[in-house]
Amino acid sequence: MIVLPGQPVSDNSDKIKHRESVYERSDKLISSTIGKLSKSEDSIRVESAHKNAQPLPEIDSEVLATVVRLNSKQATLQLDVIDGVPCTNNSQDSSFQAILRSQDVRQTDKDRVKMYNCVRPGDIVRASVISLGDAKNYYLSTAKNELGVVFATSEYGNPMIPISWESMKDIQTDTIEQRKCAKPTPL
């Protein structure tokens, strides 16, 4: 069943623990978006009908991001994919900007992190959002095995493959460069 914003979807709100795109108003649950209603014992969801609804970064969202700039303390990234959904607003002025600070790159030996040996401009990084951050940036972290660089090119411009958690090898010239690699997750 398709519901519209403002349409009541349930009378007793106490039992329902899991809610998505609904809000409470004088003990009733009301839909807050256009979408398909799915109900069960303790959950009510309204699945947005908008095909390319832009997901917003939330804490613990998994994102794919491209490194734009780098300095010794932090890397600046641009978000490309949020929770598996590509970002539609990829122009310079409207994209989501995020930073990865040196202390959030890995779990151990945090104070000896050299940003240049972990990510470089152009790399694509899998990361999780740790904070909605300040006015300008979201804050990312790669301090988990399955987070880190997923795609990078060497200084000669060839794609590289990971050979350990902190190094990658150029597939053509066999030169080795340092990166904080993501552990490949089985598909």
């Binding site: 398709i2 519209l4 914003p5 403002g6 807050s32 009908a49 908008h50 832009q54 539609t88 006015a135």
Partner: protein, 254 residues
């Protein structure tokens, strides 16, 4: 011959335009053919502008308005805010009224856009859009209802566009206008009716929640007339709400 070569010049020989007989359309819009509490025919179509996240085109009588929503996108170069921000920009097309509107110096539109913002804010759940901005662009293609009627039509169109973009909302927002003239309440007044009215009032409501979002009034009404005006606008808003709901349902199913 003396002409400006940088302009697009018309052909040397011109003929007078021949218009199709439009008495039928006029017929529908005139008060003599509709009841005091009857709206002009409304046409509404969402999803006209493909690059926008949501858009609507609305026609009410001869008033034609296009409305586009962009975002939510991250606010840049502004201090941190824990709620989203709604930006409304309204433009009259230069050809929207019988006197040409200068696109550079437009003053009414800024006032109108602040009224529209007021009417839309109660319908949006901006607390869910931390650090985000939502841009709403409105173009008035033809103006046949003056500012009060425009506020109602823009609110209706904008509410539909916001809903069709998939934003979180409290409910659909709808506007309706009444003009008070010699003991008569005229719903959806034409420009001449507004001109000679004792009082005009636009009421923007969320019919699904029976909540009033915004009232804009000029002139004085006593308490009974006020009640009557609210009743008329409420029933009109319900009708428009039903129309929007149907349109959005069809759009979603298609």
């Amino acid at each position: 011959m003396n002409f400006d070569r940088r302009r697009i010049n018309g052909p040397e020989a011109t003929h007078e335009l021949i218009y199709e007989n439009s008495s039928h359309v006029k017929h529908l819009n005139e008060r003599s053919t509709r009841k005091n509490d009857e709206l002009r025919p409304v046409f509404i179509k969402p999803g006209l502008i493909s690059s926008a996240s949501g858009s609507t085109y609305i026609e009410c009588g001869n008033t034609k308005i296009a409305c586009a929503v962009y975002g939510p996108k991250q606010i840049k170069n502004a201090p941190y805010s824990s709620t989203g921000k709604l930006n409304v920009e309204i433009k009259h097309a230069p050809f929207s009224s019988s006197i040409r509107r200068d696109p550079v110096k437009e003053l009414e539109a800024t006032h109108l856009s602040s009224q529209v913002t007021q009417a839309l804010l109660p319908s949006l759940r901006l607390e869910n859009y931390e650090k985000m901005q939502i841009d709403l662009f409105v173009t008035i293609i033809q103006d046949d209802s003056l500012d009060f009627g425009l506020l109602a039509n823009i609110t209706t169109a904008a509410g539909t566009a916001l809903a069709s973009s998939g934003l979180e909302m409290n409910g659909l927002v709808v506007g309706a206008t009444v003009a008070f003239k010699e003991d008569e309440m005229l719903l959806d007044p034409s420009p001449s009716e507004v001109k000679y009215a004792k009082a005009v009032m636009t009421v923007c409501t969320l019919p699904a929640l029976t909540q009033i979002a915004h009232i804009w009034q000029a002139g004085t009404l006593d308490i009974n007339q006020y009640k009557q005006a609210l009743q008329i606008t409420e029933s009109a808003s319900r009708n428009i709400h039903t129309l929007i709901a149907k349109t959005l349902m069809n759009e979603t199913n298609a």
